[in-house]
Symmetry: C2
Subunit: 232 residues, 2 copies
DNA sequence: CAGTGGTCTAGACCACAAG
DNA sequence: TTGTGGTCTAGACCACTGG
């Protein structure tokens, strides 16, 4: 007999029952064992299907208590954090970047705090403009920590943006990212070919390798930029 | 002998090898079979560990070709889409909402397109202000599709916000969400207790149940709002 | 063709928590 | 105490694709 009951099939069937209200929010669903009997498959197969549903927030699962349809079914959206060059190219445009500033200096207090750094160490401070079809796309302000990136002063960031170099050469263990909106300043407006006060989408990201901060970056997108994600 | 080699342990060890450069970007790592021998465990256990690493973008896996460390290790950030009330309460504030407008009307063209609706049907149009500690937090403009939400005109949205009612009562099969920035208008500024032109963080979300659009919503956050996510 | 990852199975033991 | 989910095992077959 063929396997019509792959874990994907089972997951789809179970998701359907949740979505169409066969099993209502808060309700207990049959145990893995019973579902395995129903679908004539091994419990591990049902487990794989249910785990996926729990991961997306549709189910709450607890040992002994069983699996319940989530009462407040949070949904999760997964953002892909890409190299800016790829993001530009994905939009069908030609990518180019310009390194505007690149100097060693001590970061301001606010950033020391953000990077969880306690010494007044010198870092590499960069300003980069990323362009799509030669039109301003993102203005990037970045701080790079030379205590982690030993050879950082030898890299030619005119050839490769720090954004891309880091992704290819340095992996982080953890980090945080925040999204917000900001009115752009006169000088930023100049760089982004926009008007002072325009609302811009801002991403701030800081990454660490174990306890050491690698880099902190602020990406100021051109006005009208929007980031889109599919929900499933 | 105890199992010191749970799939989590194995995943951590393998992740470490990728992060510290033992295995470099683009490099082929040992097959599941070999790793299972190394860790003295079943292949399924290694598989579970590797699958997780592939899911987060650290590995590229292909049948026959084996597993390679990703050349462009995309990282993924998972956003939890919560009920606004919970988001306010998570920030330690008291939640309250005010239904400002609630009327039946035909949505404008732009929204018909966004909702992939082809008929000039009447919908429920709502404006809601969400408050945190009685201070404006988010201004919400929402369209609800009565062809899917049959009893929508009977719900008392003064008691429960549409945001919360929908999450608890209607599940979607898919949707899309976009993040952007906007200069707030004079009337929005009035509602949000801000100034005209201030930059506000905007979330637009549209959800469907199979082919039918359920709702489309635009959330205009108070200036200074930011959304933060952990990367791991 | 052969070796890889993808999946499924039947069984087992364990950790947990509701009753 | 007992039934649940969480995990691991040893083995198997399949789908895919590089050589």
């Amino acid at each position: 007999m063929k396997n019509f009951a792959s874990w994907q099939n089972i997951q789809d069937m179970l998701r359907r029952r949740i979505i169409d209200g066969t099993w209502k929010p808060g309700e207990l669903i049959p145990s893995e064992k019973r579902l395995a009997e129903e679908f004539q498959c091994a419990r591990a197969t049902v487990n794989r299907a249910l785990r996926g549903l729990a991961d997306t927030g549709l189910l709450d699962r607890r040992r002994r208590a069983g699996s319940r349809v989530a009462t407040e079914p949070s949904r999760y959206a997964t953002l892909k954090i890409d190299i800016i060059r790829l993001e530009v190219e994905r939009r069908g445009a030609k990518y180019r970047h310009v390194l505007i500033e690149n100097r060693r200096t001590v970061p301001p207090r606010r950033l020391q705090y953000q990077m969880k750094i306690h010494d007044e160490i010198e870092m590499l401070s960069q300003s980069t403009l990323h362009l799509a079809d030669d039109k301003p796309f993102v203005y990037e302000e970045r701080w790079l920590n030379p205590s982690v990136l030993r050879n950082i002063f030898q890299i030619d960031f005119d050839q490769v943006s720090a954004n891309e170099w880091l992704v290819r050469n340095v992996m982080f263990t953890h980090g945080d990212i925040s999204f917000s909106a900001a009115n752009i300043t006169a000088s930023e407006a100049d760089l982004l070919d926009a008007n002072e006060g325009d609302a811009a989408f801002v991403i701030e990201r800081t990454t660490w390798q174990d306890e050491q901060c690698i880099t902190s970056v602020r990406l100021l997108h051109r006005p009208s930029f929007s980031m889109r994600v599919e929900l499933s």
